[in-house]
Symmetry: C2
């Protein structure tokens, strides 16, 4: 049986990237290493759609979120948290650890925070120093309207900090054009890499605030990364083999073109949702994003057992819901190094296990709806 | 020309470990992933020579140092810093960032802090909460007498925190028997891996202090790692491909046996020092350790140019001195996945470039001294 990774991180890694990782390790302070970091940093600017430098941190996405919070906020400063699930709650955890004064704008799992809710919160809290939110809420499949958020926050003194960990590179996200001040992502999602690197960029507005904020830590002190990157270097020993491999995946992204890449994800996500509905299932997210499709487990079906059967019988590894959502949803990623034919296979496998579980379903309902939606979209 | 890595981190990685890194990425919350982390954690206890759990952080060594400082010290608490070079200064940077009250016990580059100096500092500062020091000071080649340090600190309320990043696994270090309270290391030195993981363990005495200290960050909050590891898990997305590869290198270390591994490094280091002296050069460290040999550049020789020639003509990549030491020393690592025959090759190449630079040297002086010292030691 062939194992197939459909979890919303880690995601499949291109073969040429994996082979980079098997090459002998080299010194991280050589001219060659600096040239590689410079190249990766340039390609990241393209992926982020920003003219600001993008910094490479050796850590996972949460480390990048900690960098955003700890550099932008002093103790006790007010932060508006727009949270729609577990990854919004991750921001809350980091904000709490750094003693922020949190004003939470919360919606139930499956819903999205609206621009109007954010606008109201900002008006009620003119002293808020930053807004923290999520591009793709991977726990529910919801996407936030960051273009609208950006327009609202740009008119205030607050910064807009975005967890783009599972969305960036999979759905439209324009850091500069949308006025996003701090954007964080990780290597292991749409950037087609194993986990181990996080990336962050900061707008001029963000840097102004960072430079006026007391230093709160060392490893995530962005001033150090800014200074080092001027010489195409890192302040601390970087995961240099990961950076070299990231270069290979970024080349693939550049070759496809970021807008084509967004369009590919949009098209696959649309076809997946059509399949879900044709199978008599429901998409869980009210405002679904293109990085993953989250499916509500239908009544009478044991969600966790279905996923186990999918993996055991057919090799398809989807993700269960997290915490209280366990058994309630199925999370199917179509991020990064995957295509419509592979997702079609996952739909086929899901059909099979559902039928085997006694769920009423016409064989082929899902795959034909997928095919039809895919063929008639661009 | 065959490239050969002799820098004191990164170091050569075994082929079977590199091949692990080229395997398809898998989900980090699976039963298989937990079993791997459990196995790695057990093998790390063996390497650390501790019965306490060892935590795996996705970051480089400095992140592990930040975890030690931020978990063990509250704002303004007193710390004794025993520093003998650049990596002692790294502790100072982290301590400053976390607002410690630093009492520095400093020696010039090339010297070691003595147990007597530490004892005096502790007597003068009975309110010190912790002592921070370095096992192998990679910037100078000095090793500290941690067994003696441990005996002294154990009689006080202070913790002993050790940067074992480039020493652990290359030289004797017994966490429990020597009363080391916080020990940090990184994957890319004697543990035969690329950079990207740090490891830390804490004694019961350290945990008592950590549990009484306010939380100061999130990503490096050791309480979270302690809780997760009870279920063989990590609190945040780990570098799971690195962890899997680390397993392969740890198996190699277990197969060799930690005491044999220490003995191998001691023997190679002794032979290297014999070669250095026979070539008319000087070992820079007053109290040299076995992880690397640091050689003082002789008068009339351009240290940096020699290293460039070594790499360009013969493929041997040694490290230059850092900061003010640039051009003053050569740093030759014999850590991890390397053996006497490879180090002999490096001595041969160094002889050749020195002769080509006009340095008076009988060809074979270094290699024959190396061979003699190696053959007559165990």
């Amino acid at each position: 049986m062939k194992p197939r990774l459909f979890t919303p991180g880690p995601t499949p890694v291109p073969e040429e990237t994996l082979l980079e990782l098997a090459k002998p390790v080299t010194y991280h302070r050589s001219a060659e290493a600096k040239a590689i970091l410079a190249e990766v940093s340039e390609d990241l600017k393209y992926v982020f759609q920003t003219s600001q430098p993008v910094y490479t941190l050796t850590c996972s996405g949460t480390g990048g979120m900690e960098a955003a919070v700890s550099n932008a906020l002093a103790v006790g400063e007010k932060a508006i948290l727009c949270t729609a699930g577990r990854w919004g709650e991750r921001w809350r955890g980091v904000l709490k650890a750094f003693s922020a004064d949190i004003v939470a704008v919360e919606v139930p799992y499956g819903k999205a925070v609206t621009p109007e809710m954010l606008e109201t919160a900002l008006k009620a809290n003119p002293d808020a120093k930053a807004v923290f939110t999520t591009l793709s809420e991977t726990s529910t499949g919801v996407g936030h309207d960051l273009e609208a958020f950006g327009k609202i926050v740009a008119g205030t003194d607050a910064l807009l900090a975005v967890d783009g960990i599972s969305g960036l590179g999979a759905m439209e996200c324009r850091t500069d054009a949308w006025n996003l001040d701090l954007v964080v992502t990780g290597s292991q999602k749409a950037l087609m890499m194993p986990p181990g690197l996080a990336f962050i960029c900061a707008s001029a507005k963000a840097w102004k605030k960072i430079d006026a904020t007391p230093v709160r830590n060392f490893y995530f002190d962005l001033r150090r990364y800014r200074k080092s990157l001027l010489e195409s270097d890192t302040p601390f020993t970087p995961g240099n083999t990961l950076i070299k491999a990231q270069r290979a995946s970024l080349k693939r992204i550049r070759a496809e073109g970021i807008e084509n890449l967004w369009a590919r994800h949009t098209r696959i996500a649309g076809a997946t949702r059509a399949a879900v509905e044709a199978m008599g299932l429901k998409v869980f997210a009210e405002r679904p994003n293109s990085a993953l499709t989250v499916i509500a487990v239908p009544a009478g079906i044991d969600g966790s057992s279905t996923l186990k059967a999918l993996e055991k019988k057919y090799g398809y590894k989807l993700a269960d819901g997290q915490d209280a959502m366990k058994g309630q949803i199925w999370r199917l990623s179509h991020m990064g190094y995957t295509d419509a034919f592979e997702v079609l296979g996952a739909v086929s496998a899901l059909e099979l296990v559902l039928i085997e579980s006694g769920f009423k379903l016409e064989p082929g309902a899902g795959v034909s709806a997928f095919q039809k939606a895919y063929a008639t979209s661009k």
